[in-house]
């Protein structure tokens, strides 16, 4: 039965009645085995390949590729760029994360309107999302590198302080904040481990693994989606794609994740 649970995966694991409830070690071991099994192959590789193709493809009203996009290390430099995001950009005078920067490049280089660039941020069954694939490609190009976004510019420091307030901001019918789930070590929601995101040891492990293929959703998900999904669960309305709050929160979390190694694209439940 245990072997079966491991093969069939998450669903079998969750409903596997033979795991004694009191034996936390057994439950934990099954979760570890499931993770190991997943790590053998990552469907996100496909999104990464599609993203690279899209990066080089002439698209939009200006029929231009993104190959001149400045992700912070100079026009066209993809390798290592994700390891230095989010950061302040002189041309927009804003702190930007990967996805908001891609929106900027789609507007300036390819001639899309901002609304067009932000229109389809997350894939759904039968409907791909170019920006999701491109984000996966760009993040993957920093794989194995040290995660070290700058936190020096006054606007970066301001974004950090705002992000910190937002992280602890409790609201809504359930009184939830980010810290409700991510404020303590060693907690779980159902069977899912919850990282304490202000603990560098834990933040370094998880923050740098997005975008990731999420088995439970059957698709690649970006950091923007992760935050949107958290606010959904927090009983908040829909978080605007590449909104200020979404970027400020990333600046806050990125500080604790600094020093980790980029392991994108990741693979998750």
């Amino acid at each position: 039965m245990r072997a079966l649970a491991a093969t069939v995966g998450a669903v079998a694991l969750v409903f596997c009645a033979s795991v004694p409830a009191q034996d936390k070690d057994v439950t934990q071991r099954e979760i570890e085995r499931y993770r190991e099994l997943l790590a053998e192959g990552n469907p996100a590789d496909l999104a990464e390949a599609k993203g690279e193709e899209l990066w080089k493809t002439k698209r939009g009203p200006k029929q231009a590729s993104l190959e001149r996009c400045d992700l912070g290390l100079g026009a066209g430099v993809v390798k290592g760029a994700y390891a230095r995001l989010p950061r302040w950009f002189a041309d927009t005078d804003r702190v930007q994360d990967l996805e908001s920067r891609l929106v900027t490049c789609m507007v300036t280089l390819q001639g899309f309107t901002e609304d067009e660039a932000k229109k389809n941020p997350f894939s759904a069954p039968g409907r791909g999302s170019p920006i999701e694939d491109i984000a996966t490609y760009v993040a993957g190009a920093s794989k194995g590198m040290k995660f070290a976004p700058p936190l020096e510019h006054p606007k970066e420091l301001e974004a950090f302080r705002t992000g910190e307030e937002l992280f602890y901001r409790r609201a809504g019918p359930h009184d939830f904040s980010c810290a409700t789930c991510h404020g303590d070590n060693g907690k779980r929601i159902r069977l899912q481990d919850l990282p304490k995101l202000t603990d560098p040891k834990e933040a370094q492990k998880v923050f740098t693994t997005w975008p990731a293929y999420r088995v439970s959703q059957g698709s690649v998900r970006t950091m923007q989606h992760r935050l949107y999904d958290c606010y959904w669960q927090m009983r908040h309305p829909q978080l605007d794609y590449v909104s200020e709050a979404s970027i400020d929160l990333q600046v806050f979390m990125a500080k604790y994740a600094s020093g980790g190694t980029v392991e994108a694209p990741g693979l998750k439940r």
Partner: protein, 206 residues
Amino acid sequence: MRSAALFVACAALVAGCTTPPPENDARREAQAAFERSFTHGNKEMFARVVGQDDVQALCSRYRNRPPADVAERIQKSQAATIVYPADGKLMGDWRQGEKIAEDGFGLRFTDTNQPNRPNGGNCYACHQLAPHEVSYGTLGPSLYRFGRTRGSGEAIQRYVYGKVYNSEAFTACSGMPRFGLHQVLTPEQIRHVVALLLDPESPVNK
């Protein structure tokens, strides 16, 4: 009001307080950023999160670790909100309580398409309860065999009903939602949850 809170914060720091922390600016900026970041969603839901009540504001400000006097103030004000059923009946049906404990439905922006479906309590997301459910969270304490050592008398029924209704009355800045105060669960549903925890026949107490 704000300076009073600040004074309390400073007093709590034994090391003393020379300059006011820049947190007030940060909070104002965070509120503004928040309001600019939820512009396309459900307007009614936005109205429920854009402001904060006293408990939410204080617990945010103190990072869920309020100084003793603030904690006492919160608990006192929240205890006054608890409304016990007029008929005095606090125990319902543990079988229905179990369903409520398993169900995470309700109040998310995708849940609006089923207006007649009751909300769940999703107790298992954070607590261990009946032993047959292995998919339980650990954000809250284990409640397995909660009623075994405590019995099912009126005093403990009132405690559990009150705790589910408004957890902040007992532990200031608890992570647990105020299910009754915010009408996430109905009084009838809370009674079922009380039974799940206290009924000797409930699997929680087997």
